[in-house]
């Protein structure tokens, strides 16, 4: 059993380790042996990749886009999840089915008209335009995730606050929100991961180099430098490092959030 499991672990991690090794090789070393260990550790690839691929700007744009998306999505999703979990809104189960269906719609179905709409109102090739799209795409999933989390929280304290005459907004802000923080953190992590890694809308909606998030910065770089695998490896490693670190620090929350809802995307 352990032999098979270890083989699978090597299958998972081997390519990433190899990628890291390639980032440390010189070009001639890579050409001679692309599947082995680096003989000399060429850290310079990272600094060259950083400046040549313009990764500083990409990282800054990604940070901006991810943080805004996460903040807005958390607000939108927690408001909606509260309504669906606690306020007896008629038609809420039909609405939730709609949310599920709308997150299974092919992006190709609305991509072209969305592109056209965004161009008409001046949101095309802006970071805020991309942020708004991400909020629209990721908030249904966050809502459903947070709703199931809220259902697991006892409601006595809310009822007590209502008896004291608190309005729904106050109940939400003072009682529900503090208790829901772990669930909100899970939504923040999964949304942040999706926004950071997203490719289709990023490549379609952002044209200027100066506004590109890392996913398209890196894509443009590797399209242009197809020969220089060592620099591409270094750039790719710079891109995945923040998420790897975040994942290793908070892996249980990541995994539970994604596993319980069984959502993701190939």
């Amino acid at each position: 059993m352990y032999v098979a499991l270890t083989a699978l672990a090597i299958f998972s991690l081997g390519p990433i380790v190899l990628f890291f090794f390639n980032a440390l090789k010189t070009n001639s070393e890579y050409a001679a042996d692309s599947l082995g260990l680096p003989t000399s550790w060429t850290w310079g690839n990272f600094t060259s990749a950083w400046s040549q691929a313009n990764m500083g700007a990409g990282l800054w744009n990604s940070l901006l886009i991810v943080l805004c998306t996460v903040a807005i999505t958390c607000v939108v999703a927690s408001l909606a999840a509260y309504a669906l979990a606690r306020l007896k809104v008629r038609g809420s189960s039909a609405f939730m089915t709609y949310l599920l269906v709308s997150s299974a719609l092919p992006s190709q179905m609305f991509l072209v008209p969305l592109f056209y709409m965004w161009a008409r109102v001046g949101l095309y090739d802006t970071r805020i335009g991309l942020i708004l799209i991400y909020c629209g795409l990721f908030s249904p999933f966050g809502t459903l995730l947070l709703r199931s989390f809220l259902l697991g929280i006892p409601r006595e304290m809310e009822e007590a606050a209502r008896v004291d005459g608190a309005g729904e907004l106050r109940v939400f802000l003072q009682v529900v929100l503090p208790n829901a923080l772990p669930g909100i953190l899970t939504v923040a992590l999964t949304t942040g991961l999706s926004a950071y890694n997203e490719f289709l809308f990023a490549v379609t909606m952002i044209q200027s180099d100066s506004k590109m998030p890392l996913s398209t910065t890196f894509f443009t770089f590797q399209q242009g430098f197809t020969q220089n695998f060592t620099l591409i490896s270094a750039a790719g490693f710079i891109m995945i490092a923040p998420m790897l670190i975040l994942f290793l620090l908070l892996q249980r929350r990541f995994i539970n959030g994604l596993a319980n809802s069984g959502m993701g995307g190939i």
């Binding site: 990433i16 008209p113 490719f199 995994i255």
Partner: protein
């Protein structure tokens, strides 16, 4: 907004006041408050969904019946012509075939790997969480970077391609399988995590009983585990089919549909028609067909689930 008498009675019982009292509102007013504030709380979500998904989707339905280019405001109604052309278009038909092959691959390979990995992890005592974490890591790596990792490994000059004298991404017979392989590498670990979560909910006494009956690990998997996690299995099967028709990233990044269309999927064909060939209406029709396919899949699943009465 008015509340029907019956709802108020169900919520409040006798003695419900129809006139809201300012300081201590009656049950009816409270109920109405909840209903109204409920929709207010849902408003931001609805607004985002409306502008990003629903309105563009509705436009897409309309544009699919027109000769819209995708960049001008002009669109002439041409009826079903786009749809008729789709099924005569060799690119579309080929894309559809590749999507079916893609679905078959993802229903078999990652599902088998995910089930095996999860079952093995559920039966071991040590290092379970460690293995789970390791399998999950490729899933959190961005698709652009995953594609690069494998492009370098599969490279015909430097990587495994050179070693085996093949060109996995450049050979028309291998390219689709290679892209599926790369996508699966990033994907199967996610299935391990979801299946493992389901398997940990299986009643341990079932395994004890099976062991008493002399069933080995393989027998136990088919007799105990698989039936117990059937809802998860069915749900992931459904999502696999839907996601297989949405697949885009890996093809677009690794091969852009080539060589010679051998990796084209409906999504990459539609993307090219929209943004390179300026056939917005035609691309919209492709998108609508893709949406109809997922609609059929979801409906079939819901019907099956209802007749078999699976709980999710």
């Amino acid at each position: 907004m008015t509340i029907p008498e019956s709802t108020a009675a169900a919520g409040g019982g006798p003695g419900v006041s129809r006139i809201p009292v300012p300081h201590r509102p009656g049950v009816l007013a409270r109920l109405r408050d909840r209903e109204v504030s409920g929709w207010l709380f849902l408003l931001p979500l609805i607004a985002f969904n409306l502008f990003v998904v629903l309105v563009p989707s509705a436009f897409s339905v309309w544009y699919s019946f027109t000769d819209w280019t995708g960049i001008s405001s002009k669109a002439k109604f041409i009826g079903l012509e786009n749809y008729r052309n789709l099924f005569r278009d060799p690119e579309f038909v080929q894309g559809l075939e590749h999507n079916v092959l893609w679905t078959v691959f993802f229903l078999i390979v990652p599902m088998a790997m995910g089930l095996f990995g999860a079952y093995a992890l559920s039966r071991i005592r040590r290092f379970r969480l460690l293995f789970r974490t390791l399998y999950f890591i490729p899933y959190i790596v961005a698709s652009v970077v995953n594609a690069s990792i494998w492009r370098s490994i599969l490279d015909p000059q430097n990587g495994l391609g050179n070693l085996l004298h093949i060109n996995p991404l450049g050979d028309q017979d291998l390219a689709l399988w290679s892209v599926e392989f790369v996508n699966n590498w990033a994907w199967w670990g996610f299935l391990v995590v979801v299946f493992l979560a389901a398997m940990q909910g299986v009643n341990p006494s079932l395994y004890e009983a099976a062991t008493m009956d002399g069933a080995g690990a393989t027998r136990q998997f088919f007799a105990v585990t698989l039936p117990a996690i059937r809802p998860t299995f069915a749900f992931l099967g459904l999502m696999t089919i839907i996601w297989s028709f949405l697949a885009f990233d890996y093809v677009y990044i690794l091969t852009q549909g080539g060589p010679a269309g051998s990796t084209d999927l409906l999504s990459t064909v539609a993307y090219r028609n929209a943004f390179s060939n300026l056939q917005g209406g035609y691309a919209s029709a492709t998108g609508i067909v893709m949406a109809l396919i997922s609609g059929v899949v979801v409906t079939v699943y819901l019907v099956i689930r209802k007749t078999r009465e699976w709980e999710t």
